[in-house]
């Protein structure tokens, strides 16, 4: 043993020359790179990095753009509003967070011009308004004059009026308008404000003035109903930090919100688009990870012979470990760099395309796409290669004599577990959302498990099928059976890729169709409010004469939700009137509600709990589910309603889900007719007014001074353009994910190519014609693709049904068409891919193939 010690010591001293193994690792890397042996793993990592980089930077920039664009709907990133003046401290503090602010005041008042008067909604704004978006104005009322955008409101002494106010007052641009004690010059026609209200009940004819003119008008007196708002914009992180400071200071009557917080058509659309982008990104990551997992195993298997040889030639385990760890690091590093370069270039092209189509410059991407794509590439390469690498280090040197030694190393549970944890961690890193990641991950894991079981059964069952030997079909089925285990893995990968692609494709179409169906060309673009009962018939007659259809007239009564089960709810209070806050009261709505009574449930409403009113209903109420949750109302609770000085109770018998996205009047509380029908009510309706009828309708309505027409055309135009842009973005993201799905399919076909080549050589040597081999391959891949496509279609339809209902609040439905499209796409794509790969091999002559195989 003394001799042994001497030998080893000498060996170790010699072997300690680190430069040699580093040199060897670099040499192997460059040689294999040059010979194309690293193409699959490098391409998989590079494409994963490329996909994740492009996807995350595009979604990041689109997400920011959508946020910014949608923020223009409140003219800011966040808005703080109250029925009482906001403390100066709030604005002063915001400067410390580098936030921009603007002030707003809303109040309703009468405008006078010559002998006419008009009740109008006044918005007084500071010079910083709007912080996001632009104000669209015109210089005259003429249709011939184009409108244009400006980024600041009127200067002191001027007033901008909406067309309907100008018509109602019968004035032209340049005329004088009396607002309280101050005369203002009608300077511009107000066409569109970024934060034009979409609250059809509170809006009336709109005018814009400078906030510095408010004091001179003397219209705000103690007791006046005024709404104070402060707008904020700036870096999102700073806004969040500022809100952390602000939150404990906010009183009951002060509310802080962003565009996504409010129940509106837009908030629903923005949230849905962002969910889709997130989902697409997660699926992209899953596909990229699968591609790397497949190629990493293949990469390690390719190194079995060199490792066995090195061990035979005396290479120590530690040297071999170092060489191949460095080798893999070089592959990963190189592939990540390539992925980033191409990803950056693709992202530039994508952003250029999207900016052009979205007619908007996209914001700069953050550092996140770089970080997340590098982490994805490196983590996937390391974690998916870890177990195969450990197996590689265990390859016995005896493999040089027994060629198949080590080939039987199966995919271990540890490898599966490590890979699964890695994918989940990456999904979590990308989304930052436990719930979405968990649902998506476990549903996919379940799918993989079920698919694997099904595919094993299918291939086993196929063993009974007998066909004449020597036919292409016979060879194809024999191949499928022989590689039952490998084919099961392939089938799962194919099916997973096809399933995810079908899933996203159908979801994209459903989302966009849903948006478009809610915004048809003849969608309501105006509302008539304050229609009295006496005016109903003449108005209906007038609209019919003009050929204008309505959504029906809803009666409304303004009232306050005062109590729940005899417990008083807090209400707005006026400090100016020395009112005291109801300290003991439960948090309430804080404002009056528009109540209605109906016997039939509106079409855009759906009962989620309880029962809708029956024929003999008495004293019942139906409450919107969000409001019920907020105020902790249970079915059977008694709510107290206060209308003027009259108080009455109603029993809550149902909760409703309201489609706030519909451009129709919606109500938080609907009461049974017996409770409300005796109160004086006004009516409201939504209608589609063609552009050419607008002017004449305004003139006709002039004789009904109490009726207000709220034109939401510009709002719809804005929403429609946002939807169009988001649709383009979603389509683009889908293309990237499809690209990634294609990569999974290619890497899977590549993985089985070596074994197939051996068979090709044997068959060729035995004299099989190229056509027979090509057809056998074509049929084998055709069957694989067909089964994968069918299973994928079934599972994606089930997943779609769940996701549409649970995540996207869409009406879940089945899509029979994909049951055909799935197998057709799977069979054709997979078989064409396999066919061309084998056809390339068959171009070589048999002796060349033999040499390559040896």
């Amino acid at each position: 043993m003394i001799v042994t010690g001497r030998v080893l010591m000498q060996y170790k001293v010699e072997n300690n020359n680190n430069a040699l193994w580093v040199k060897l690792a670099f040499r192997l890397f460059f040689r294999e790179l040059k010979r194309g042996e690293l193409t699959i793993i490098s391409a998989a990592i590079a494409l994963a990095v490329l996909t994740v980089f492009t996807l995350s930077s595009v979604t990041d920039r689109i997400g920011q753009s959508i946020d910014q664009k949608s923020n223009t709907f409140i003219a800011a990133d966040r808005k703080l509003g109250s029925a009482h003046p906001l403390p100066n401290e709030y604005k002063e503090k915001s400067l410390e967070y580098s936030l921009n602010t603007a002030d707003q005041l809303y109040f309703d008042t009468m405008l006078f011009a010559n002998d006419d008067m008009q009740l109008s909604s006044v918005k007084a704004v500071s010079k910083e308004y709007p912080l996001r978006g632009k104000i669209i104005i015109k210089d005259t009322l003429s249709d011939q004059v184009p409108d244009y955008s400006v980024t600041t409101g009127p200067t002191p002494g001027n007033i901008w009026l909406s067309e309907s106010v100008l018509y109602a007052l019968g004035i032209e641009i340049g005329d004088s308008v009396e607002l309280g004690a101050k005369n203002l010059i009608a300077e511009k026609v107000l066409v569109e404000e970024p934060d034009a209200p979409f609250n059809i009940f509170s809006a009336s004819k709109r005018v814009l003035i400078n906030i510095n003119d408010v004091a001179a008008t003397k219209v705000i007196q103690p007791g006046s109903r005024v709404y104070y708002a402060m707008l904020f914009s700036g870096n999102e992180e700073n806004i969040v930090s500022y809100y952390e400071w602000l939150k404990p200071k906010l009183s009951e009557n002060q509310s802080w919100w962003g565009v996504k917080d409010r129940q509106s058509w837009l908030s629903g659309s923005v949230n849905r688009a962002e969910k889709f982008l997130l989902l697409a990104g997660l699926l992209g990551i899953m596909l990229a990870a699968v591609a790397i997992a497949v190629s990493a195993k293949r990469y390690c298997e390719n190194q079995y012979d060199p490792v066995a040889m090195m061990k035979t030639l005396g290479g120590s385990r530690s040297s071999i470990r170092k060489i191949f760890m460095l080798h893999l690091s070089l592959v990963t590093f190189f592939a990540i760099i390539i992925g980033l370069i191409f990803g950056f270039a693709l992202q530039l092209v994508a952003i250029d395309y999207l900016s052009e189509n979205m007619d908007q410059a996209l914001p700069k991407a953050s550092i996140r796409p770089w970080f997340i794509s590098i982490v994805t590439g490196a983590t996937c390469a390391l974690m998916f290669s870890l177990k195969p690498l450990l197996d590689l280090f265990d390859i016995p040197p005896l493999r040089v004599l027994r060629r198949n030694l080590g080939d039987s190393i199966a995919v271990s549970r540890i490898h599966l577990l490590v890979s699964a944890i890695t994918i989940f961690a990456l999904m979590l890193l990308f989304s930052g959302q436990w719930m979405t990641s968990t649902i998506l991950f476990f549903s996919s894991a379940a799918l993989v498990g079920i698919l694997y079981g099904i595919s094993r059964l299918l291939f086993k069952a196929g063993r009974g099928v007998g066909l004449s030997p020597g036919s292409s079909w016979s060879l194809a089925i024999a191949s499928l059976q022989k590689r039952a285990s490998a084919n099961s893995v392939q089938l799962v990968s194919f099916a997973l890729a096809i399933k995810l692609l079908l899933f996203l494709f159908v979801l994209k179409n459903d989302i966009i169709n849903d948006w478009q169906s809610q915004l048809p060309v003849d969608a309501p673009n105006a509302f008539l409010v304050n229609v009295t009962e006496e005016q109903l018939d003449p108005i209906e007659f007038m609209l019919a004469k003009e050929g204008i259809s309505t959504t029906g007239f809803y009666p409304t009564v303004r009232g306050r939700l005062n109590e729940i089960n005899n417990e008083l709810l807090a209400r707005d209070y006026s400090e100016q009137d020395n009112e005291k806050k109801d300290e003991e009261a439960k948090a309430g709505i804080g404002r009056e509600l528009n109540l209605t009574w109906l016997m039939d449930i509106p079409s855009q409403n759906e009962i989620t709990q309880g029962q809708w009113f029956d024929k003999d209903v008495k004293g019942e109420a139906s409450v919107e589910e969000g409001m019920a949750e907020r105020l902790e109302i249970e079915l059977g609770d008694i709510i107290g309603i206060l209308i003027g000085s009259e108080k009455f109770n109603a029993k809550v018998t149902s909760f409703r889900k309201v489609n706030w996205s519909s451009l129709k009047p919606n109500f938080f509380v609907i009461l049974s007719p017996d409770l409300l029908s005796h109160f004086p009510a006004t009516y409201i309706t939504a209608l589609h007014v063609p552009k050419e009828s607008k002017k004449s309708l305004n003139v006709l309505l002039k004789s009904y001074s109490t009726i207000t027409m709220i034109d939401v055309d510009s709002f719809i135009k804005q929403v429609r353009s946002t939807v169009d842009q988001v649709s383009i973005a979603i389509g683009f993201v889908l293309i990237i994910v499809m690209f990634c799905g294609g990569l999974v399919l290619i890497s899977q076909v590549q993985a089985s190519l070596q074994e197939r080549m051996q068979e090709v050589v044997i068959l060729r040597t035995l004299g099989a014609k190229g056509r027979l081999i090509k057809l056998a391959t074509l049929y084998e891949f055709f069957l694989l693709g067909l089964i994968a496509g069918l299973v994928a279609a079934i599972f994606s339809d089930i997943a779609l049904l769940l996701v549409q209902q649970q995540l996207f609040e869409l009406n879940g439905k089945l899509h029979p068409i994909i049951w055909l499209v799935g197998p057709a796409v799977g069979a054709s794509f997979v078989s064409i891919l396999g066919y061309f790969m084998i056809a390339k091999t068959l171009k070589k002559n048999t002796s060349d193939l033999l040499r390559v195989m040896s």
């Binding site: 043993m1 080893l8 060996y11 020359n17």
Partner: protein, 237 residues
């Protein structure tokens, strides 16, 4: 270790090898004993499945024994773990295989340099050039295995086997994959270098002519050493 044992570069005592199969333990080699002197050339012959390749694997330390002792260059191979056996191979053993076993991604010269580099030799490149010149491949240094013919690949393998001047050379059917002309060329090269470098040669073959060129022939049958006879070069030892 006895004085006699120190005269032998390989000593095998009561060597047995069994493998586990579904049907139970299957004996591959049973009670094999023999010695090999330094510089001697020994052919191990036998029918397919007789256990000759298993014996070669055990002698080279590629596999571990179940029973018995093997001393290789005075080292008790049967007591060494895999790392120690690898160290011994790096220092004392060269290999030539039937299927050449060249690393496909390395050029001819890099394949030859590989064992010297793994052993930490700094003059690996010069050694490789000298040996490749010796086997007549000085113009093919930068060719990859796939660019070489079978005979050329085996010549690269022989050059690789002699790099670092190993004391023992193991060869597994070195000419079985080659045509007659190339086979003879390889065999001649092997014996030439064996003599020139004073290397002990142990080769597994079923080629009687090749076996005859060795000093001794060990006949294996059913895992037993049934005959230890002299070859035509018996006088050369």
């Amino acid at each position: 270790m006895t004085e006699l044992s120190q005269l032998n570069i390989i000593q095998v005592r009561a060597l047995s090898k069994k493998v586990n199969t579904l049907a139970g333990e299957l004996p591959i080699l049973s009670d094999i004993s023999f010695n090999v002197k330094p510089g001697e050339s020994v052919a191990i012959v036998g029918a397919s499945g007789s256990g000759k390749s298993t014996l070669l694997g055990l002698l080279a330390g590629l596999d571990s024994t179940n029973e018995g002792e093997i001393y290789l260059d005075s080292e008790p191979l049967h007591t060494l773990d895999e790392e120690q056996r690898a160290a011994l191979r790096a220092k004392s053993i060269g290999f030539v295989f039937q299927s050449f076993m060249l690393v496909q991604s390395l050029t001819a010269i890099e394949n030859v340099m590989l064992p010297a580099e793994l052993a930490g030799h700094k003059d690996a490149k010069q050694q490789a050039i000298n040996l490749l010149t010796k086997v007549g491949l000085e113009y093919r240094l930068d060719h990859f295995p796939s660019q070489l013919s079978g005979g050329e690949q085996q010549r690269v393998a022989i050059a690789r086997a002699f790099v670092g001047s190993p004391k023992i050379l193991f060869a597994d059917e070195p000419s079985a994959n080659l045509d007659t002309k190339n086979g003879q060329l390889i065999e001649s090269l092997l014996f030439e270098l064996n003599q020139e470098k004073d290397t002990t040669l142990l080769l597994v073959t079923h080629d009687e002519h090749l076996a005859e060129r060795c000093n001794r022939i060990l006949h294996i049958d059913g895992g037993h050493l049934i005959n230890d006879s002299n070859g035509s070069r018996a006088h050369a030892v």
